[in-house]
C-alpha cells in the first residue's frame, strides 16, 4: 500500500490543481471585456458579409432577369440544399444530448479445428480473450458509446459492449479532466490501459479481426483498468508523453482481490514525431505490474483427468511498441501504409496450486516468457487495404516447485510444456465509406501444441451515429 501512496498523491495534487481554473477570476473581467469587443467585431463583420451577400444576390437576380426576360429561373442541375440555416428551433431540451454512436460487428468463421479446444501452448491461459471464437455466423459485440463534456472541467465517456450472447460488458466508463493545464490529464473509472500501442484501440479499429496472440495470452485480449491514470505531455515539438496508472487489478493478468490495496500499476512513455510530410511514427515502452490471488485455469493432469490449477503472485510485463504510418503528403485517401510491431516480455513469480478442488498441492512458480507480433497494412487503392501479420511466442520452461521437489511429474502441467506458438494472418478489407468496412481474413494458426488451425473469417463493421475522432 505504501508504495502506492505516490500515485494517489499525484492524483490528489492533480485534482487540487483543478480549482486553479477559477483562480483567474480577476483576469476574467478583462478577458470578458476583450471578448465582448471581439464579439462586436464579429457581428460587424457578419452584418457586412450579409450586406455583401444581399448586394450580390440582388445583382445576380437582376442579371438573370436581364438575360432571360420573363423566363423563370432554371432549376439547378442537381439538388442544392437550402443555403438558409434552419431557424425553427423551438425546444432546447435535447440540445445537450451527448454524442451517441453504435458499432455493429459480426463475422462468419470457418475453422479447421474445434475452437472449444483452442489453447496457446506453453502458457497459463487467460480466463477469456483467447482463441478465434465460435464457428459459422457470429454476432460480435455491438458497441454503444455515449460521450460528452460533463462541465468545463470533465469529459465523460461510456462504452458498453452488448455481446452476441446477450450479456453487456462495460468496456470503458471513464471521466477525463479538461481543465488541468501544463500538459496534464487525469482519467478515472474503467478505461483501456495506456500500456502498449494496440491496447487502447477499440476492436472496430483493429486492422485484423482478432488481437495478436501475445495480447490474447498476456493481457486477455485487452487490459481494462478500474482505477486512475495520469498523463503528462511535455512542452516540446516532439511528442513526449509519460503516464502512470493504478488499478484494482480485476482484469487479467491480475485478479479481483479482497484487499484495499491497488494491484495493477503501470508506467508508460511515448515518443513520436514526423519524418517529412508523408511519414509519422510513435515509439513506446510500458511496464505493468499486476498481482493476482487464486487466478484459476483449467488443465488436465498427467492421466488426462480435468483439474483446476491456480496462480497467486506477481506478474510483471515489459512492452516495447513501434508504429509507423505513411501516406503521400499525409493524405491516406488513395494510398497508405502502416507498420506496427510490439514485443512483450512477462515474468511471473509466486505460488502455483495444483488441483485446487482435489489434491490441492502448492509450490513455487517462476516463468519468463515473451511474444511479439509485426504487422503491415497497405492501402493499395481508394477504399481497399491489404494486411499481413506474423505472431510469435516463446514460453520457455517455467520453474515449477512441485515438479522440482518431485511431488508431481512435469506431465501434470501439460499446458506449461515449453512451446513456440506462431501464426501468420492475411487480411483484405473494403471500406465503402468512412463508416462501413467489410473484411476477409485467413490465418495459419500454429498456436496449439498439436495441429495447425486454418481460420477463414469474414467480418462486417458498421458505425452509426456520432463521428468519433480516432487516435493515431
Amino acid at each position: 500500500m505504501a508504495k502506492l501512496a505516490p500515485i494517489a498523491g499525484a492524483i490528489v495534487v492533480g485534482l487540487l490543481l483543478l480549482p486553479n481554473a477559477g483562480q483567474a477570476a480577476t483576469d476574467d473581467v478583462a478577458a470578458l471585456r476583450a471578448e465582448l469587443e471581439a464579439l462586436k467585431t464579429d457581428y460587424t463583420s457578419r452584418v457586412q458579409a450579409l450586406e455583401t451577400r444581399i448586394k450580390q444576390l440582388e445583382s445576380a437576380v437582376a442579371t438573370a432577369q436581364l438575360a432571360q426576360p420573363g423566363a423563370a429561373p432554371a432549376p439547378p442541375a442537381f439538388p442544392q440544399p437550402s443555403p438558409v440555416a434552419p431557424s425553427g428551433k423551438s425546444s432546447n431540451a435535447t440540445a445537450f444530448n451527448p454524442a451517441i454512436s453504435m458499432i455493429l460487428t459480426g463475422n462468419y468463421a470457418s475453422l479447421s479445428q474445434d475452437p472449444a479446444t483452442y489453447r496457446v501452448a506453453g502458457f497459463i491461459p487467460p480466463p477469456s480473450g483467447e482463441g478465434p471464437g465460435d464457428r459459422s455466423f457470429n454476432l460480435d459485440e455491438s458497441e454503444l458509446t455515449v460521450a460528452s463534456n460533463v462541465d468545463p472541467y470533465f469529459f465523460g465517456n461510456v462504452t458498453a459492449a452488448i455481446q452476441g450472447g446477450n450479456s453487456i460488458d462495460i468496456e470503458e466508463a471513464y471521466f477525463k479532466t479538461l481543465a488541468l493545464n501544463n500538459g496534464f490529464t487525469i482519467k478515472g473509472g474503467r478505461f483501456f490501459s495506456g500500456t502498449g500501442y494496440l491496447n487502447e484501440i477499440h476492436s472496430h479499429n483493429w486492422d485484423f479481426v482478432d488481437q495478436p496472440l501475445v495480447y490474447q495470452v498476456f493481457l486477455g485480449g485487452q487490459l481494462a483498468q478500474d482505477g486512475a491514470q495520469i498523463r503528462w505531455l511535455a512542452p516540446a515539438d516532439y511528442f513526449i508523453e509519460l503516464g502512470a496508472e493504478a488499478g484494482s487489478g480485476r482484469s487479467f493478468p491480475g485478479t479481483q482481490r479482497n484487499s484495499n490495496s491497488l494491484a495493477s500499476d503501470a508506467l508508460f512513455a511515448h515518443l513520436g514525431g514526423d519524418a517529412g510530410d508523408s511519414t509519422s511514427w510513435r515509439l513506446g515502452v510500458s511496464w505493468l505490474d499486476a498481482r493476482s490471488t487464486d487466478r484459476a485455469y483449467d488443465d488436465v493432469d498427467q492421466l488426462g483427468a480435468p483439474v483446476t490449477n491456480a496462480f497467486t503472485g506477481t506478474s510483471r510485463t515489459w512492452i516495447a511498441d513501434g508504429t509507423l504510418k505513411w501516406a503521400p503528403h499525409g493524405d491516406p485517401t488513395y494510398h497508405q501504409f502502416k507498420l506496427q510491431g510490439e514485443y512483450l516480455h512477462r515474468t511471473e513469480s509466486g505460488r502455483l496450486a495444483f488441483d485446487v478442488t482435489g489434491r490441492n498441492l502448492a509450490g513455487d512458480y517462476d516463468s519468463s516468457q515473451s511474444g511479439w507480433y509485426l504487422q503491415a497494412v497497405y492501402g493499395f487503392m481508394q477504399r481497399w487495404r491489404a494486411g499481413l501479420r506474423y505472431d510469435s511466442m516463446q514460453s520457455r520452461t517455467p520453474s515449477i516447485g512441485l515438479v522440482q521437489l518431485g511431488l508431481l511429474p512435469s506431465a501434470a502441467f501439460p499446458s506449461l510444456a515449453s512451446a513456440s506458438p506462431e501464426r501468420t494472418t492475411m487480411m483484405i478489407d473494403w471500406s465503402l465509406s468512412e463508416f462501413s468496412r467489410l473484411r476477409a481474413q485467413y490465418a495459419w494458426d500454429d498456436a496449439r501444441a498439436t495441429e495447425r488451425d486454418r481460420q477463414l473469417m469474414l467480418q462486417y463493421i458498421f458505425a452509426m451515429g456520432a463521428h468519433g475522432a480516432h487516435k493515431f
Partner: protein
C-alpha cells in the same frame, strides 16, 4: 516498484518546472490549413510562430491525429480552425490530449472561421445515406475573398485579445491587410468578369464558394455524394446528363485523384483545370494573394 514511480514523479516535477519557464518568444499558433496559416502570418508578422497541421495536398477531412500534432497543440497559444465539423475526425483528439486549457473550445485561444461567414448548402435534414455531408453547411469557405476579409477582421481582433502587448502591431497589420485585400478583390472581380455564368463540373463540393463568388454554375459534381467516389456507371450517366448543358471546364484540386476528371474530360471535351485550392497547392499560390491570383489566372486560361 515504488522506485519506478518515484523516479517518474521526480521526472514529471522537473519537467513541470521546465515547462513553467516562459518560452514566450512569439505567439504559438496551430493552424489547421495552410490558408489559415497564411492569414495568421499576414496579420501576425514576426510576432507569431505558425505551424500548419495540413498541406494543400491533403484532404482536410482525412487527417490523422498524429503525435506531432498533439505535441503542437500542447504548446499552442492559439488554434485557428475552419470549424463547421471539417476537422471533426481529428481536432477533438488534439484538444483533449493536449492538456492545454488555452485552446479549448470557448476559450480565446480557440478560433473557428466558418461560423463567422454565411455558410452555403446548409442541409435542412441530414442522414448518412446522403454521404459525408456537413450538418452545419459547406465548410470550404476560403475561396471567396469576402469571407477572408470577414475572417481576417475577427482573427486580428482575436490576436489583439490574446497578445495584448502587441495589440497595436496586430491592429495596424490588420488594417493594412484589409486595405490591400479589398483592393485586390476589386481587381480579381474585374478580371474574373468573363467567368460569370460559365458552367463547370467539380469533384467534391469544395468549390461552392468560388463558384458562388464568381457566378460560375456548378453543373455537376464527380462525387455522386460528398465523400463517395464515383462508380463507372455514375460517370457514364454524367456524360449523358452533361450532353445537354456542356460545361466549359472541370475543376480539380491539388489533392484530388485526377483519373475520374480526366476520363470525363475526354468524353465531354472540356479541359480539367488544376486549381491550387489552398495556399501551396501550386507553386504560384505562395500566399493568400497568390492563391486568388493563380486561381483566376488558371480559370481564365481555360476559358480561352
Amino acid at each position: 516498484m515504488g522506485k519506478h514511480i518515484r523516479t517518474l514523479l521526480a521526472l514529471a516535477t522537473l519537467a513541470l518546472c521546465a515547462g513553467a519557464l516562459p518560452a514566450q518568444a512569439a505567439l504559438r499558433v496551430l493552424a489547421t490549413t495552410p490558408d489559415w496559416a497564411a492569414l495568421v502570418t499576414e496579420l501576425g508578422g514576426d510576432k507569431v510562430n505558425v505551424y500548419t497541421a495540413t498541406s494543400a495536398f491533403q484532404d482536410v477531412h482525412r487527417v490523422d491525429a498524429k503525435p506531432s500534432l498533439v505535441a503542437r497543440a500542447r504548446t499552442a497559444d492559439l488554434v485557428v480552425a475552419t470549424g463547421a465539423d471539417l476537422e471533426i475526425g481529428w481536432m477533438p483528439v488534439l484538444l483533449q490530449d493536449s492538456g492545454n486549457t488555452k485552446i479549448q473550445p470557448g476559450s480565446p485561444g480557440y478560433f473557428e472561421a466558418a461560423p463567422l461567414v454565411h455558410l452555403l448548402e446548409v442541409p435542412s435534414a441530414v442522414d448518412r445515406s446522403m454521404g459525408d455531408i456537413h450538418p452545419l453547411g459547406n465548410p470550404h469557405v476560403t475561396l471567396d475573398p469576402h469571407n477572408i476579409a470577414i475572417i481576417a477582421k475577427a482573427l486580428a481582433a482575436r490576436l489583439v485579445l490574446i497578445d495584448s502587448t502587441n495589440a497595436a502591431y496586430y491592429a495596424a497589420r490588420g488594417e493594412d491587410f484589409d486595405k490591400r485585400w479589398q483592393q485586390a478583390t476589386v481587381g480579381w472581380e474585374a478580371r474574373a468578369a468573363p467567368l460569370k455564368g460559365v458552367g463547370v463540373v467539380v469533384i467534391h463540393r469544395d468549390q461552392a464558394y468560388l463558384c458562388s463568388w464568381l457566378g460560375m454554375k456548378e453543373l455537376a459534381s464527380i462525387e455522386p455524394k460528398p465523400g463517395v467516389p464515383p462508380s463507372a456507371g455514375y460517370l457514364v450517366e454524367l456524360v449523358t446528363k452533361l450532353a445537354a448543358t456542356p460545361p466549359k471546364m472541370i475543376l480539380r484540386n491539388a489533392y484530388n485523384d485526377p483519373r475520374a476528371a480526366e476520363w470525363l474530360s475526354e468524353r465531354i471535351h472540356a479541359p480539367v483545370v488544376l486549381l491550387p485550392y489552398s495556399v501551396g497547392g501550386t507553386p504560384e499560390a505562395k500566399d493568400l494573394f497568390g492563391l486568388f491570383d493563380d486561381t483566376i489566372n488558371r480559370l481564365l486560361a481555360a476559358l480561352k
